[in-house]
């Protein structure tokens, strides 16, 4: 009701106001039929999904943009904007044909001329894109609907990369937008996806609003994961910002909102007990907690000391302390995620068992000099807050000296890119979480990049890992990929770049009259319906 500009609703609002003061009818008056009122995990601030990797912006991207390929519910890549494609026998030339009827939100047709700069801009920012770009010789538009990609060397990653499900997703944008410098944010918000972004109604910190795009032609297949027909079944989606987790739950129970993307785990019992609320685990692969080392400074510049950490920690303590309910977590020693094609235990058998004796022994062998581990502790993100205290407790029991420094998440983010010594504003270790869909192989998972200065914060340097990653990119068969992934996991278990601390799942919550939420690595709002009643 808030910002809907229909006079009928305004009239209803006025009528309700008359007797509203002592009644609870306000909530149902707000439940206007085809508007989905949603609380996402964070506020939408930046609206360029190529420029940033923030998950909220990725989710925004799925609302208004479309992709060439997409991952279906089984984890297989399916054509989305692409109608069909052919691969030459030498596996070097790919020819793609776009579907009929693709339209931008300004009602101009989508053409090959839009696609190529879109791929280029994405590949300039995304780590997997950069890798794939190294294989690409040329990209060329053959006609309005056909384009060709020629490779210099064969790789099994091209189609997978174009269907990359999570940040950065290769979203397709109009030519004039896609030609923006990759390091500058775009200023026009036109896509070809099932929803249109309402620029005028976007109020950062309050709401972001989307309406159904009448000109969108969905595929004929049923929706599956991020693939299949993207049929918008609601007229309008409003992302509302409620920063207080408990208040979001209260609002959902009161019917003031329809859906919460990721309610706090400790509040799930309240939602489970409510007959009007349903929980839905949309991200089946889940997320993975991770501890990142700073490799450039003592003590974690010594691989043996990093390995001692791998022995000292155990996943269950972290998962219990943050998630609590075993229904929503899984102890998993596979770095490339349990339930994925590259799941393996290689090298990990005896690690992550809190074997303090072994950890102490390694520390002694490594000549650990009791340099303090400066552990960054973020205090304002519910899903991360409890990680650092658990790490501190376990590390101390293994004989580490830990200096845990508490700060808000934004300060952690700023701090972890600083390369100063830990005593002068630097750091030794920090904890974060990855969406499993982003770490399914060693090329896309940023923390495996061990190329020193060019790697993500933590800056590991490990030529052996880099050689293996390059081989992975060239691998053409699943079996070969698996074999290399095992070798990488073995190497990382000896000289860790980071420690994976278990998988966890974050079910969404919605009111009973909402249906059609799809299982996918990102929350998507096509196919979702809103029935009558509260």
């Amino acid at each position: 009701m808030k910002s809907v500009k229909l006079s009928r609703r305004t009239v209803m609002a006025g009528a309700a106001a008359a007797g509203a003061l002592a009644s609870s009818t306000g909530a149902s008056a707000q439940g206007s039929a085809n508007v989905l009122r949603v609380v996402m995990h964070s506020d939408l601030r930046i609206i360029d999904p190529i420029w940033t990797t923030a998950y909220i912006v990725r989710n925004y991207g799925y609302m208004i943009y479309d992709t060439l390929f997409a991952l279906d519910a089984k984890g297989e890549v399916q054509p989305q904007m692409v109608d069909k494609y052919t691969v030459s026998d030498d596996k070097l030339t790919y020819t793609f044909t776009l579907r009929d009827g693709l339209m931008w939100h300004d009602n101009q047709p989508v053409t090959s001329a839009d696609i190529i700069p879109s791929i280029r801009r994405w590949a300039a920012r995304d780590p997997l894109g950069q890798t794939v770009m190294g294989f690409i010789g040329s990209m060329e538009a053959k006609d309005a609907k056909t384009f060709e990609i020629k490779l210099k060397e064969a790789t099994g990653l091209l189609i997978f990369a174009l269907g990359k499900p999570s940040s950065n997703v290769p979203f397709m944008m109009p030519k004039r937008v896609a030609e923006t410098d990759p390091n500058t944010q775009i200023t026009e918000f036109i896509g070809s996806g099932p929803f249109v972004f309402m620029r005028d109604e976007w109020k950062p910190g309050d709401r972001a609003v989307y309406t159904k795009f009448a000109g969108y032609k969905p595929r004929s297949e049923p929706a599956s994961g991020l693939a299949g027909g993207k049929v918008a079944k609601v007229d309008r989606v409003e992302w509302r910002v409620i920063t207080d987790q408990q208040q979001a739950v209260n609002a959902l129970q009161a019917g003031e909102i329809d859906l919460i993307e990721a309610p706090s785990h400790d509040l799930l019992p309240l939602l489970k007990a409510d007959r009007n609320i349903k929980l839905f685990n949309w991200n089946v692969l889940g997320n993975q907690y991770t501890m990142r080392f700073n490799h450039t400074t003592a003590p974690f510049n010594n691989p043996k000391i990093r390995q001692a950490v791998l022995y000292a920690l155990n996943q269950e303590d972290f998962l219990k302390a943050t998630i609590g309910d075993p229904e929503y977590y899984k102890v998993c020693k596979a770095m490339f995620v349990c339930g994925s094609p590259l799941e393996t235990m290689a090298g990990m058998e005896d690690k992550l068992e809190s074997n303090f004796a072994k950890a102490r022994q390694l520390l002694q062998e490594a000549g650990y000099n009791r340099e303090p581990v400066v552990l960054l502790h973020s205090t304002d993100l519910q899903v991360l807050t409890n990680l650092a205290p658990v790490a501190k407790s376990l590390l101390e029991r293994a004989g580490f000296v830990v200096d845990m420094q508490s700060m808000d998440w934004q300060t952690v983010v700023a701090r972890r890119v600083k390369r100063d010594p830990p005593t002068q504003g630097g750091w030794s270790a920090m904890l974060t979480s990855w969406v499993a869909a982003d770490i399914l192989n060693p090329v896309m998972a940023g923390f495996f990049n061990a190329s020193g200065d060019r790697a993500a914060f933590g800056w590991p340097t490990d030529p052996e890992i880099e050689t293996l990653r390059a081989r992975f990119a060239r691998a053409n068969t699943a079996a070969e990929q698996k074999q290399i992934a095992e070798a990488i996991q073995r190497r990382v278990s000896e000289a860790p770049t980071h420690v994976h601390l278990g998988q966890w799942y974050s079910p969404g919550a919605h009111r009973g009259n909402i249906s059609g939420w799809l299982e996918a690595p990102a929350p998507v709002f096509w196919n979702m319906e809103k029935g009558r009643g509260a």
């Binding site: 302390a321 409890n386 700060m407 808000d408």
Partner: protein, 312 residues
């Protein structure tokens, strides 16, 4: 406030125009029920903080992920590194990391009371000095008051966030963060007392008769600031304990490995509906202490304020 001194408003009713307190007030103090009750509660809280290591059932920072969110009076077993098992009864339940809330609350008494007292003492003494200077040295008055106006104009919470993030979050930075916005309020109070006392006939007479400034300040001005500063000080002490909780609520307070009533509550707030004990027990301790400090301050004021005495 560039107007001449004679036009200065008397900014506070707590600024009585009084002669110095007489020694007999000490006896009167202990006849005031609010002083006695307030002081008793404050002393009990301080005592609890003092003997925290003796009455705490476990290490307040010891986490136990296997025993998180336990209800009050639940028990849990923890295995130590040497293999022995200890069973602990959690009188006030446990928090989301399985830490014992009772132990955290009694240890929290130390930190919370310390913060309250430290902030009050620091704000009052800094404010007193600056306020005296502003009220006494005319040419500095304008400059000081502009800076104070500037400081006061910045939202306290924002100022606090900036101060805390300037240095590492900890007790000292939190104390500084709360003191900085409090100082201008004390300065204004002190200055207004100084200005109004200066207009009193007996002070003017003293000035005319050539009494040295130092003597004037010690004999006439300082005693007049005592009563209002005590009232202000209690308010600051009480509010400091609360502001600490708000800073924790915003995620920038004292790190949770040092328990304070504020951060125990702030951590427990997400589970307010499911496990109210995390907010209830520290809340009771906090409210009782703040209440006692305020009662103490009220009692002190009533006793030290001669006008009240007349009516009594």
């Amino acid at each position: 406030m560039t107007a001449p001194a004679s036009s200065e408003p008397i900014a506070s009713a707590d600024a009585p125009i009084a002669a110095p307190a007489k020694p007999t007030v000490w006896r009167k103090l202990f006849r005031s029920p609010s002083v006695v009750i307030g002081l008793a509660i404050v002393l009990v809280m301080m005592f609890i903080g003092l003997i925290a290591p003796l009455i705490a059932t476990s290490d307040p920072s010891a986490i136990n992920p296997g025993a998180r969110n336990r209800v009050p009076m639940a028990t849990s077993t923890m295995r130590l590194d040497d293999g022995t098992r200890v069973t602990v009864t959690h009188y006030m339940g446990t928090d989301t990391l399985g830490r014992d809330v009772f132990s955290r609350v009694v240890y929290g008494a130390r930190v919370s009371i310390f913060i309250g007292v430290a902030v009050a003492l620091l704000s009052v003494s800094i404010g007193l000095v600056v306020g005296m200077i502003a009220g006494y040295i005319r040419w500095l008055d304008g400059i000081i008051m502009r800076i104070m106006d500037g400081l006061m104009a910045i939202p306290a919470i924002l100022l606090a966030i900036a101060v805390v993030s300037l240095s590492r979050a900890g007790i000292v930075s939190v104390i500084i963060a709360i003191v900085v916005p409090e100082v201008p309020r004390v300065v204004r109070l002190v200055r207004s007392v100084v200005l109004s006392v200066r207009e009193e006939p007996y002070v003017e007479a003293a000035v005319v008769s050539g009494t040295p400034t130092v003597k004037l300040v010690v004999r006439h001005i300082l005693p007049n600031t005592v009563a209002p500063l005590i009232v202000q000080g209690t308010f600051i002490c009480a509010s400091a304990i609360l502001v600490e909780a708000i800073l924790s609520f915003l995620g920038i307070g004292i790190p949770p490995d040092i328990p304070t009533w504020g951060n125990i509550m702030a951590e427990g707030r997400q589970l307010f509906r499911i496990f109210p004990h995390n907010i209830l027990y520290p809340g009771i301790f906090l409210a009782l202490t703040v209440l006692a400090v305020n009662m103490l301050g009220d009692g002190l004021r009533d006793t030290l304020d001669p006008k009240m005495e007349k009516r009594g």
